[in-house]
């Protein structure tokens, strides 16, 4: 063994600890990056050499830069992401519908319906009062306006959802392309003997983003390639990234492959919530609202057309509402132009308010299903409120689980600055000691040189 061996060990040591400090620097710089998995330097001893009957150590080596990661937690996070995103998106979109209702308030459909019937009741007391007739028209107009606001607001939310669904699908297509590209890059680097830790983090982030959008299944093959399927339909691997599009089938928005060969069976994620609210929830609300308004219109018209106006001679057979289409409850133009065309009398005399009284009574009159007109609307409000509450509560629940899983992941993969700075000190001291070793070896060599010179 010669002195040069000391130089070799010290030099190798300097190099290793410099590398270790590089890794620590990378960790520290990513301490605030939530998608980063900390990396760990794995040190090992160099292969010893046999000399003079002994095995002599040859110093330290950098065996690996490993990525500290827990695949099981990742999987749980993705499953939870889909559920949370689905509930949260439903809560947000249905919350918008709920806000449209403006209930409970004086400006909601319920209060305006009551005000409408109250106006009829007031008219029944003095049926020949033009002011009270005008009051009925104004109450009807306010109710009609609010119904239109709510109904067309629902249509508007549906339009927004349609755009959102297209945007969701574009985002999914982009994520799948990214995953395929990252798979290929990771494969190449692994083949070159590299540890593509940062690319793995990026791929995990994209997969997590994708799990927010749809229910996915991720399988890793022996080469650590991520194979993605969405709702049972193959979506991406190392070679292929399937592209999807939206299409209308039987009046419902569905997501299919570009060639239309397969439809996605969505059960979770933002896209599921958007399509479900678009296809099912809002149409169901609109249907309930339409039923309420149609019943209101028919009931009022049925009474109104049997009564007599305040004209001379009194006219009969005049409807109060003309029509109800796509959210617009149209009041008879003749009545709008001349409130005397309101038929409040059952016998044509100006002081008879029987018809007005009957219409006022519709507010409490039971229909064939045993409910009142307003009960039907209240059921809709209750349904929307329950749907929003359910979605919000579910989202909160998944959010708590999500927070715990992220804490779990942060505990395992996150960077601790204290830990890294301790490593810095450790590596710095090792580096300094190695440098001192070089100095000592140099002095020893100088001593030998001085002896022979």
């Amino acid at each position: 063994m010669g002195l040069s061996n000391v130089f070799d060990i010290a030099t190798r040591s300097l190099s290793v600890y410099q590398g270790a400090l590089d890794v620590t620097a990378q960790n520290i710089s990513n301490a605030g990056n939530p998608d980063y998995s900390r990396q760990r330097v794995v040190l090992g001893t160099e292969t010893p050499q046999q000399y003079g009957g002994f095995l002599w150590g040859t110093g330290v080596k950098l065996e690996d830069i490993s990525r500290v990661h827990n695949a099981l937690t990742d999987q749980q996070i993705r499953v939870n992401n889909s559920k949370y995103s689905s509930s949260n998106e439903s809560s947000v979109m249905l919350g918008q519908v709920q806000n449209l209702l403006n209930e409970p308030s004086d400006q909601g459909i319920s209060s305006l319906t009551t005000a409408f019937f109250n106006a009829w009741q007031q008219l029944s007391v003095t049926p020949n009062s033009v002011a009270l007739r005008q009051n009925v028209v104004q109450a009807a107009q306010s109710l009609s306006d609010q119904i239109q606001t709510v109904r067309q607001g629902m249509d508007s939310i549906q339009t927004d959802l349609k755009n959102q669904i297209s945007s969701d699908v574009n985002s999914i297509n982009s994520d799948l392309t990214q995953i395929q590209t990252l798979n290929a890059q990771i494969f190449n680097l692994q083949n070159a003997g590299q540890s593509p830790n940062d690319l793995l983090d990026t791929r995990d982030k994209v997969i997590n983003d994708l799990s927010n959008m749809v229910n996915i299944n991720v399988n890793y093959d022996s080469q650590n390639m991520a194979n993605i399927s969405i709702g049972g339909t193959f979506a991406a691997d190392k070679v292929t990234a399937v592209q999807f599009k939206t299409a209308m089938q039987n009046g419902k928005m569905v997501v299919t492959t570009k060639d239309g060969a397969a439809s996605l069976n969505l059960t979770g994620g933002q896209l599921y919530a958007d399509t479900n609210v678009y296809n099912n929830t809002i149409p169901s609300y609109e249907n309930s609202l339409d039923t309420f308004v149609n019943n209101l219109m028919k009931s009022v018209n049925s009474q109104q057309s049997s009564g007599y106006t305040l004209d001379n001679p009194p006219q009969t057979g005049i409807n109060f509402f003309d029509s109800y289409t796509t959210g617009t409850l149209k009041i008879n133009d003749a009545i709008l132009n001349d409130p005397n065309k309101i038929a409040a009398s059952s016998d044509g005399t100006s002081g008879n308010g029987d018809i007005a009284l009957n219409i006022a009574g519709l507010s409490t009159q039971k229909q064939s299903d045993g409910t009142t007109l307003l009960d039907n609307y209240s059921s809709l409000v209750s349904k929307i409120g329950t749907d929003v509450k359910s979605a919000t509560d579910t989202a909160s629940s998944y959010n708590l689980v999500s927070q715990q899983l992220q804490q779990q992941q942060a505990s395992y993969s996150g960077v601790s600055v204290d830990e890294e700075m301790t490593n810095v000190i450790q590596y710095q001291k090792s580096y300094a000691a190695s440098a001192k070793l070089v100095t000592v070896a140099d002095q020893m060599l100088q001593t030998l040189i001085d002896m022979v010179s």
Partner: protein
């Protein structure tokens, strides 16, 4: 457990968000005074509040209408009392005029009766809130006035028998007016029965005496011609003393349908009501009430009765005219005024009953409204004291979180190296 910086940051932010959310909710509650801002806050509570508010608004509206109705009823009662005061004076005059000592003052009594008639007419045309109280449902114009020849008084409106209803509870309507017919009108009350075995096409008739404004006698003849099972065409005629019709045109037949119990179910498809019969050329005006006519097995036995010969206005005119001609009032005329006085007392009593019902209904609705408001308050109202304490507590927690963050999150090993 390994604690990383990200964990501490996330933990701090999650807790901070939760606390701020609670503070925000409490602030909204206190500011709005409501615990339910939107249906999802309490779906069942929202539906209850919608229902209760609906009932409260409806009750307030009914209370307002009852108040208007009470004004109307009180005006009606006052008018009836004014009329009764005059009728009492007339009765006193009619008693005095019978005294032989007053034979020379008949003209003076006639003037007093004319004065009373004028006041009675004025009260009969009492207006309340733009509506003539005794004009039934044709109440935009004064119901009573002189004929064009100025000799008698006639009904000016088409229908003074109409009933005005207002809602006194969400499900109950009540009549608030005493119609002109109720108070002043001549009514022929139909009674008895028609044989249900009458052949289709056969006619059952009945008749009674009716009188014009001057007290001349006519015959009111009612015909019930069977057109189908339980169904009859009702027609009528007015015949003078020579048995000639005084009608200028034949009235349209009205279809009367009896139910399975033999009670009159409908007239021309509507609920049975008074049938107004008016012959202006002869100053004949009365109402036929068919509601008590029945159909049953056995010989037909229709019988009609009349509540008065002529109305109070024309009775007084006739008395006054007689007095001016030196003729004392007849026993029939005195009895007619007495009968009208009794009728007035009954009507004043009815009017009082209507006012009592309205007042009771209003009181019930006020109580109900208070109960509903209590329910709304219990469901949606904010316990301000509790909310304030909770808010203070949450604000303290928030401040503690900030202080903890400022002490812990900023510390690391770097501070000691």
């Amino acid at each position: 457990m390994r604690i990383t910086d990200l964990m501490m940051t996330n933990s701090f932010l999650n807790n901070l968000t939760a606390t701020k959310s609670k503070v925000s909710d409490l602030q909204t509650e206190i500011a709005s005074g409501n615990t339910i801002q939107k249906p999802s806050d309490s779906p069942i509570g929202t539906v209850n509040i919608i229902g209760w508010n609906n009932q409260i608004n409806q009750a307030n509206n009914i209370i307002s209408n009852i108040s208007s109705g009470l004004d109307f009823v009180n005006d009606s009662t006052q008018a009836l009392q004014n009329i009764q005061d005059q009728v009492t004076n007339v009765l006193s005059d009619l008693t005095q005029v019978q005294n032989a000592a007053n034979s020379q003052n008949m003209g003076s009594f006639a003037e007093q009766i004319d004065s009373a008639l004028s006041l009675i007419m004025d009260s009969a045309n009492t207006e309340s809130g733009g509506k003539y109280v005794f004009a039934g449902t044709d109440n935009a114009n004064a119901p009573f006035g002189y004929t064009t020849d100025g000799k008698s008084i006639e009904v000016k409106d088409s229908n003074i028998s109409g009933a005005q209803y207002i809602r006194i509870s969400p499900n109950i309507s009540d009549q608030i007016n005493l119609s002109g017919t109720d108070v002043f009108g001549t009514i022929v009350n139909g009674g008895g029965s028609i044989d249900s075995g009458t052949a289709v096409g056969a006619t059952v008739t009945s008749q009674t005496n009716v009188y014009d404004a001057q007290g001349n006698q006519y015959t009111f003849k009612a015909n019930f011609t069977k057109t189908a099972a339980n169904t009859y065409n009702f027609t009528y005629d007015i015949l003078d003393s020579s048995n000639n019709s005084v009608l200028t045109s034949t009235p349209a037949a009205q279809s009367m349908v009896f139910d399975s119990n033999g009670n009159l179910q409908s007239v021309d498809g509507k609920a049975p009501s008074l049938i107004q019969i008016n012959v202006p050329s002869k100053n004949i005006n009365f109402n036929f009430d068919p509601t008590a006519v029945t159909e049953k097995s056995g010989a037909s036995s229709l019988s009609f009765t009349t509540n008065q010969k002529t109305d109070i206005f024309n009775t007084l005119i006739n008395i006054s005219n007689n007095l001016k001609a030196g003729i004392k009032p007849t026993t029939d005329q005195m009895q007619a005024v007495t009968d009208f006085n009794n009728r007035l007392i009954n009507n004043i009593s009815k009017s009082g009953n209507i006012a009592n019902r309205l007042t009771n209904a209003k009181s019930l609705l006020n109580t109900k409204t208070l109960q509903l408001q209590e329910l709304v308050s219990q469901t949606d109202g904010v316990d301000v004291a509790k909310a304030s304490v909770d808010l203070t507590s949450q604000e303290t927690l928030l401040q503690m979180s900030y202080q903890m963050a400022s002490k812990v999150l900023t510390q690391s090993i770097l501070n000691y190296l």
